[in-house]
Symmetry: C2
Subunit: 188 residues, 2 copies
């Protein structure tokens, strides 16, 4: 998706050997027009969607853009929590954060995921796929169908896509990072 | 704002004496079309805006809707953090969470708030105003102008509006709760 690739080349900052900071347009400051264009890019690639599932916080902006192109289907964002209080009311899964080197519980209220749901999972980043696999797990617990995973930026050299595709899940990314080289981003 | 009032009456759940749960359309599942309509409601009430500032996580959805009605101005969401690492790079403030009974640090990267910014602060709830006052503080540190505060639901019986207006800040809410009575919401 050309506008996103240009934006990454212009504003993305490589930190160390494996971190790309895109906080000027994705996950601190948000370029909402770009998110809307990314949603349009996803639209022809998935159909028959009646719910968007994402995870707080930085998945929410792009998820609401994607909702618009699918006729305003509801967005549900999974919540990160330290302690699950009402285990009977929520689906819960554990997600290991690669960047924060910590595991957290992640929940969705049972009222907001149903066996009739045809879910598109949306997130800002796909790296090892821990967050996406956690969201797939929550959907499975609800008996919902996962129609695919749509991400803004994929780290193509990590295992997220492989793990999702091994589960038979379609993955579409608006931009794929091939590698980091001498502090620069090489896009596919 | 009539659609929001109807939605609150229909789906809002009163917990105990002072909590309104609107997680089916605001802060867990999101009704994006309703957020877009709320943004249209805010539009004539504020002008000359070039940035939206909100706080993660549940302010983000409505903030992106508001960005669209102001010609896609950037959204910046303040981040909650336990430890501020690079104090030179960020504006920081402390916010006491009324619901969680805890104080957290809240930051915005200095690159994303400038003296030339004319900011509309957007959030899902206004109660005691701690989050909004924290965001005002971050804007002041940057020398940015706060043009107003726009919130989805205001608890009219708490002090948020008073505190903001005492600072000369215009406050607009799409719905105002007058009181909770026998487990029901009474709207203004």
């Amino acid at each position: 998706m050309i506008e996103l690739k240009e934006k990454i080349s212009k504003e993305g900052r490589v930190i160390g050997s494996d971190i790309l900071k895109v906080d000027s347009f994705v996950n601190h400051q948000i370029d909402v027009l770009l998110m809307d264009k990314i949603a349009e890019f996803f639209k022809p690639k998935f159909n028959d969607i009646n719910k968007i599932v994402t995870i707080e916080a930085s998945g929410i902006a792009v998820a609401t853009s994607v909702s618009r192109v699918y006729n305003y289907v509801p967005v549900v964002f999974a919540k990160k929590t330290k302690s699950v209080l009402n285990i009977n009311d929520v689906y819960t899964t554990k997600i290991f954060s690669f960047t924060k080197k910590t595991t957290f519980d992640c929940i969705i209220d049972k009222r907001f995921l149903k066996p009739t749901d045809k879910v598109l999972i949306v997130d800002d980043f796909l790296a090892e796929g821990n967050a996406a696999m956690g969201l797939v797990d929550l959907c499975k617990q609800a008996g919902a169908e996962v129609r695919g995973v749509a991400v803004v930026i994929e780290k193509g050299f990590q295992n997220g896509r492989k793990r999702l595709e091994a589960e038979g899940i379609k993955v579409v990314s608006a931009a794929i990072i091939k590698e980091f080289k001498n502090g620069h981003v090489i896009l596919k």
